[in-house]
């Protein structure tokens, strides 16, 4: 059984993943390669922002310190963020964006499946609702990785480069500590994740990197990348500049 402190920490991990990735996806709005993609990227971002409200809303409730989801999203600094390093990686090109999404979705879907039916009723309910959305995200990002991996020589090269660039951020998703184990240990999900991505990468004609090296420090908040601070500077500008305002 998780203590309230562990629960709060864990809920911030889930909420911050959704918040940071949702923000990254929203950065695309109006700039996608084709109109249909613009709409689809916005859909994913909207789902993730909605999930953020649920996870961080519950986190604030557990904390019981009078904060709400917005206070957690807009008034914490880098060292208090608990998202994976993978999701704070910048968009770079469309290939990186979709590869990041694919790798995250493949973890996210297994995580939410494991959480569905969790003894904590609210966690179970949020997981069940999110799973419907993430099932679609996973299908779409896998299809896109296959199409772009297989498409042209240029797209193949770009997708392989994106995979190689992002691969060192995969391992952190499966590291577990006491906080994870108190709620849901991600380590056993690796097998299903591997099976899922191996099948998609094969169809996409992409080569899975050999290295098992993994950057870590995002979900523990010990060491984020430099990218997160810039994102927060933009995202939190208004509530920070006008702390007394209601919006």
């Amino acid at each position: 059984m998780a203590t309230d402190a562990q629960l709060l920490e864990w809920l911030c991990r889930m909420g911050d993943n959704a918040l940071v990735l949702g923000h990254r996806m929203s950065e695309w709005c109006g700039h996608a390669p084709v109109l249909e993609e613009d709409i689809a990227l916005a859909n994913t971002a909207l789902d993730l922002i909605g999930q953020t409200q649920l996870w961080l809303g519950l986190a604030a409730e557990v904390e019981g310190a009078g904060r709400d989801a917005d206070a957690l999203a807009y008034r914490r600094d880098v060292m208090d963020f608990r998202n994976l390093l993978l999701v704070e990686q910048p968009n770079r090109d469309f290939g990186h964006t979709m590869m990041r999404q694919f790798l995250f979705d493949a973890w996210h879907i297994e995580m939410l499946r494991a959480l569905k039916g969790h003894e904590h009723e609210q966690i179970s309910a949020i997981a069940e609702k999110s799973l419907k959305e993430v099932t679609y995200h996973a299908e779409r990002s896998a299809d896109t990785v296959i199409a772009l991996g297989d498409g042209t020589e240029e797209s193949h090269t770009r997708m392989q480069a994106a995979l190689d660039r992002l691969w060192p951020y995969v391992g952190e998703m499966f590291l577990s500590d006491d906080v994870d184990r108190a709620v849901c240990d991600p380590a056993p999900l690796r097998e299903a994740f591997d099976a899922r991505i191996n099948a998609v990468l094969a169809e996409a004609t992409l080569t899975r990197p050999d290295s098992d090296f993994a950057h870590k420090g995002g979900k523990t908040g010990v060491r984020h990348t430099e990218h997160l601070g810039h994102m927060l500077a933009v995202m939190q500008f208004l509530p920070r500049a006008y702390p007394d305002a209601q919006w």
């Binding site: 090109d93 797209s155 208004l238």
Partner: protein, 330 residues
């Protein structure tokens, strides 16, 4: 609507007696309130004018994503971020319906996109103005979407079927956009002194550009007369501008904001407000590509299109390979 100064045949409206039987039947169908569908015969001028108008409208939706997209990453709450993102996403959707409507007239989306990117086809002047503070998200929804609705509601009855049907869907979403803009304005106008200042500043900057959205007076325009005879333009520019001012002035009062026009005054006799004309020289400058953000807007669209080329090519190549593999398997 976001179409301005759409050129028609320039020949003036012909009477039924001057038309050959085919054109006469076409005009009589429009006069009787009938709809023209893609496979029906239509005069060349009607087709060309519609392509220009629908294309300009579609481009405006797409370029119109940019000024509001400018604030998505800085929206001040999770709810505001979701609402703004959903709104800008709706605009992409509107662009999509409108390109589809234009495609029924025999022009491809790719062709129209190229004409936008090269500057050959225009989009509404309003999207060449910058969005500088969060209050601009309120002002754009309240004033810009408000002005667009004035034009779009009557266009639900326009003579070209696919255009009219696209407009029905668009209008439903636009009225929601307008309300969310007004909601932001209310929060700002009743917020802290800094928020109120932002709200007034946004109104100051967006008032005249919003009036320009209707285009200059077209009482004498042969293009407008023809478009009105074809029912692809339903009201004169002045008529719609007056309606917009009459509706908006009391809303500004309600918000406690001041419309930046000393001459704005209720005129009992005409049953509407008197108001100052915008600076039409500025309007023509903007149309010529000299708006405050004209260069940035087209640069942005061109960059997105150029940087997305490899993606579009790869998607097509993959689809071709899949088709070929499927054929080979059969």
């Amino acid at each position: 609507m976001y179409a301005q100064m759409v050129k028609s045949t320039g020949e003036g409206v012909r009477s039924l007696d001057q038309m050959d039987p085919q054109e006469r039947a076409f005009q009589e169908r429009i006069d009787a309130g009938g709809k023209i569908e893609p496979k029906d015969w239509m005069p060349d001028g009607y087709r060309k004018t519609l392509v220009r108008q629908i294309g300009q409208h579609a481009h405006s939706e797409i370029v119109g994503q940019l000024p509001e997209g400018n604030w998505i990453t800085r929206a001040p709450t999770l709810e505001r971020k979701a609402i703004l993102l959903a709104k800008v996403q709706d605009e992409a959707g509107h662009g999509l319906y409108l390109y589809c409507a234009a495609e029924t007239l025999g022009v491809t989306r790719d062709q129209m996109t190229r004409d936008l990117l090269s500057g050959k086809m225009k989009y509404s002047s309003i999207f060449n103005y910058p969005t500088l503070t969060w209050a601009d998200m309120g002002a754009v929804g309240w004033l810009v979407d408000g002005a667009a609705i004035m034009n779009q509601v009557p266009l639900q009855r326009t003579s070209y079927g696919p255009y009219a049907r696209a407009m029905v869907r668009i209008c439903k979403e636009e009225s929601f956009h307008q309300r969310q803009g007004f909601d932001i304005m209310m929060k700002m106008a009743r917020g802290t002194p800094e928020q109120k200042r932002m709200a007034q500043d946004a109104l100051n900057r967006f008032w005249y550009p919003s009036l320009m959205m209707f285009g200059p007076s077209d009482a004498e325009s042969v293009h407008s007369a023809q478009s009105m005879a074809w029912k692809i333009k339903m009201n004169s520019n002045d008529e719609l501008r007056q309606k917009f001012v009459d509706l908006t002035a009391p809303q500004a009062d309600y918000l406690g904001l001041t419309i930046p026009d000393e001459n704005l005054k209720w005129n009992e006799e005409k049953g509407g407000y008197d108001f100052s004309e915008p600076d039409w020289d500025e309007f023509f400058d903007v149309l010529k590509g000299n708006g405050p953000c004209s260069v940035e807007r087209l640069e942005d669209r061109n960059r997105a299109w150029d940087e997305g080329r490899w993606v579009r090519e790869a998607m097509l190549a993959h689809a071709d390979k899949k088709r070929a593999a499927k054929l080979a398997a059969e």
